[in-house]
Amino acid sequence: MVKIKWTVKALLLTATACCASAANAFQGKPILVINPSQDRPRLAVPDFKAGTTDPQTGPLNTVFNQTLWNDLDNAGIFDMVAKSFYPLLTPGQPAEIKEAAWGNPPPNAGLLAFGNLGANSGKVDVQGWLFDVKNAGAPPILGKQYREDATPDKAREIAHRFADEIISRLGAGVPGIAESKIFFISTRTGSKEVWSMDYDGANQQQLTHLGSVALSPRISPDRSRLVFSGLTKDSWQIMMYSLELGRLVAFPRSGGDNISPAWSSDGSRVAFASSRGQGGTEIYLADSSGGGSRRLTTGHINVSPVFNPKTNGQIAFVSGQSGLPQLYTMDADGSNVQRITDQGYAVSPSWSPNGLLLAFSWIRNYGPGVVGGADIYLMDIASRQIVQLTHDSGRNDFPSWSPDGRHIVFQSTRGGTEQIWSVLADGTHLQQLTREGRNTQPNWSYQ
C-alpha cells in the first residue's frame, strides 16, 4: 500500500470571490473561476517520423501530425511546447529518445508524445508513445499501435484516437473529445436539416432530408438516436431519427406544438415543451419512446428543459411567467421551482456534464436603446455566481457543453452570418467550425 501526502492551498482569487455578494455577481465582474489551475503539464509533440518510403506516407503523415497537434492543443489541459524549441533530432522509437534534451530548457517539456507512421500496400501503420521525460527511466505512460486503410480520413481518425488516449490518461480519467460529434441545423441545402460534424468541424454530413424545418437537435447519450422538433403540415412535432438505421423512427405525435426536446443522461427519458393541453406551453416528461408522457409545469409558457446530467434529478428550463424569459430550475418531478436569473432576457440553458455549471444565453440589459447583445454566460448553480464567456461580438446563443466539460459550442453572428463556434470554458481557444450556409443550434454528443 502506498501512502501519499499532499497539501493544497486555496486560491486567493476564489477567496475574494466569496467576499463578493450575489449582487456583485451581476455587476459584470467575472468572479467565478473556471478551471483555476494554471500549472498545466508541458507537452512536446514532435512530428511523427516516416516509417516507410511509400509515397503515401508523406501526405498521410502531414494530416496525422496536424490533427494530433490540434486535438492536444484544443484539449485545454496541456501547455504545448512550441516546435521551434525542439531538438533537431526527434525520436521515432523509444530507443531514440534523449530525455535530457527534452526535459531541460529550451523545450523544458514534462511529457513527450512521439512515434512513427508508415504506409505500406494500402495500409497505414502508426506507432505512438507517451513518455515522462522529467523522470528518465520510468516506464512509458502510453504505447499504442494502429493499423487502418491508408486514407486521409483514417489517418485523422487514428490521430483522434491516439490524442484521446493521451488526454484520458492525463486528464484524470475524463475521456478526450476528439472522437465526439456535434449535431446542428444547416440551411445549406435550402431547407433546415440536421447535420453532423467532427468536434473540430471536419467531416460535415447531412442526416435528415425533411424538406421543411428541423430545430433543436439532441443526440441520445449512446449516440444511437437523434431527437429534434420538425415542422409538419400543421404543427411542430417531436421526431426521432435513428443513426443506426439512417431514417426516422416512430415517436408519438400529439395536438398542439411540441418543441425543444432533451435527453436525460441515462437515455431513458425525454423532456420537451408542448402546447397540447389547455393554456400555455408546458414541459412534459416521457420515456425515450414517447410513451407515458406527463406534465411537469403549470400555467405559464415554459420551454427548453434540460436535465442535470449528473443526477437527472433536476431540470433547468426557460419560463415567461414573469414577463421576459428567465431561467428556472425544478426537481425532475416538477416540484421545488426556483428562479435563478433576475433580469434581462435569458434563454438556452445547457447543463455541464459534472452538473455544477449552467451555460446560457443572456441579454443582460434588455430593452430599447440598451447597449449589448446576447452573450454566453456560465453560472455556478450552487453559488449563483456568474461569468461572461463571450464579449461584444454579435449575437451568441445555443451553448452546448462538450462531454469533457472543458469546451462549449455555440452559435454566433460575429462573422456576419450565423455560424457555429467552439471555445474552451475559460474563454480561450475560440474557433469557427462551420462556414457554409447558415448553421445554428449545435448540440455536442455525450461521448
Partner: protein, 259 residues
C-alpha cells in the same frame, strides 16, 4: 645775489620734468627686462624642467647609509586608567581544587543536583527508523514537478513514503493533485479566516481510479474548511485508472488561507 638766494629759497622747484624722466626710465627698464626675458626663452614660453633631461631619483630616507633622526611622533601615553585610576582591578579568583579536579578560574559553578532517577531505571527511547527511509545523502534528488508545486496564489508540496510508485508514476500523482485542486472551491470557505488552518483528509484510490474511504483525519477547527475539503474529494468521480496496483492510499492537506 640776494635775488638769487631769494629765488633759491622761495622759488618753487619744478618736479615734473625729473619725475617724467624717472617714470620713463623705469618703464624702459621694465620693458628691457621683459624683452630680455622673451628673447632668452624660445617660442616665448618656458617649460620648466624640460631641458633637464634626467629624472630625479628619490631615495628612501630609511635606506640611507647614515642614521637619520627619527621624526618626532606624538604619542598619547596615558599615565593612568582614567576610569579605574583610583581602584584596582578585582583580583582573579584563585583556582581551587574540587573532587572533579581543578576549576577554571572565573567559571560559574552550577549547584549540583542529584539525579532523581537512577540510571538503572531510565528506559531508552530510540527513534524508530522507517523501513523506507533513505539514508541522508544517498537518495536521488527530487526530480520533476512532483515534489512541490507553485501556481499563482497557490503554494504547497507533498511527501510520500513509497518512493517507487512516485518514481515511476509521477505523472499520475500530478494528475491527482491537479484534479483535487480544481475541485476545491475556495468560496465555500468562511472568508473571515485570518491565520492559516489545515485540514487533513485520507482517501483511497481504487484500481479503476475511483475514490473511496474519504475521511477527515484531523479537523482544521474551521467547519467550512473541513467541509470544502471533503466536498472537493466527493466531487471527484475518477482520477483515471491506476497505472499499477489496485489501491493507493493518499493523504491530502488543505490549507487556507495560503501562507
Amino acid at each position: 645775489m640776494a635775488y638769487a638766494r631769494a629765488n633759491m629759497f622761495y622759488e618753487r622747484e619744478s618736479w615734473r620734468k625729473p619725475l617724467a624722466l624717472s617714470l620713463g626710465f623705469h618703464a624702459l627698464l621694465g620693458l628691457c627686462i621683459l624683452l630680455v626675458g622673451f628673447m632668452l626663452t624660445p617660442n616665448g614660453s618656458s617649460k620648466w624642467g624640460e631641458d633637464q633631461g634626467s629624472a630625479i631619483t628619490i631615495q628612501m630616507v630609511s635606506g640611507a647609509p647614515i642614521p637619520i633622526p627619527k621624526p618626532e611622533v606624538q604619542t598619547d601615553n596615558i599615565v593612568a586608567n582614567p576610569s579605574e585610576a583610583v581602584t584596582q582591578a578585582p583580583p582573579q579568583p584563585k583556582a581551587t581544587e574540587t573532587e572533579d579536579g581543578v576549576t577554571i578560574p572565573g567559571q560559574v559553578i552550577k549547584p549540583k543536583i542529584d539525579n532523581v532517577v537512577k540510571k538503572a531505571n531510565v528506559q531508552p527511547h530510540p527513534i524508530p527508523t522507517p523501513t523506507t527511509a533513505v539514508p541522508y545523502g544517498e537518495g536521488p534528488p527530487p526530480t520533476g514537478p512532483y515534489g512541490a508545486f507553485t501556481a499563482p496564489n497557490t503554494k504547497g508540496g507533498f511527501s510520500f513514503q513509497n518512493a517507487s510508485f512516485a518514481g515511476k508514476y509521477g505523472w499520475y500523482l500530478d494528475v491527482v493533485r491537479r484534479k483535487v485542486q480544481q475541485n476545491w472551491l475556495g468560496y465555500e470557505i468562511d472568508p473571515h479566516i485570518n491565520a492559516p488552518h489545515r485540514a487533513y483528509i485520507d482517501f483511497d484510490i481504487l484500481g479503476d481510479g475511483s475514490i473511496a474511504n474519504v475521511q477527515l483525519v484531523q479537523s482544521s477547527g474551521i467547519p467550512t474548511l473541513d467541509q470544502s475539503a471533503m466536498r472537493a474529494l466527493q466531487r471527484v468521480d475518477t482520477f483515471g485508472r491506476l497505472p499499477e496496483g489496485n489501491k493507493l492510499s493518499v493523504e491530502f492537506w488543505f490549507e487556507y488561507p495560503p501562507r
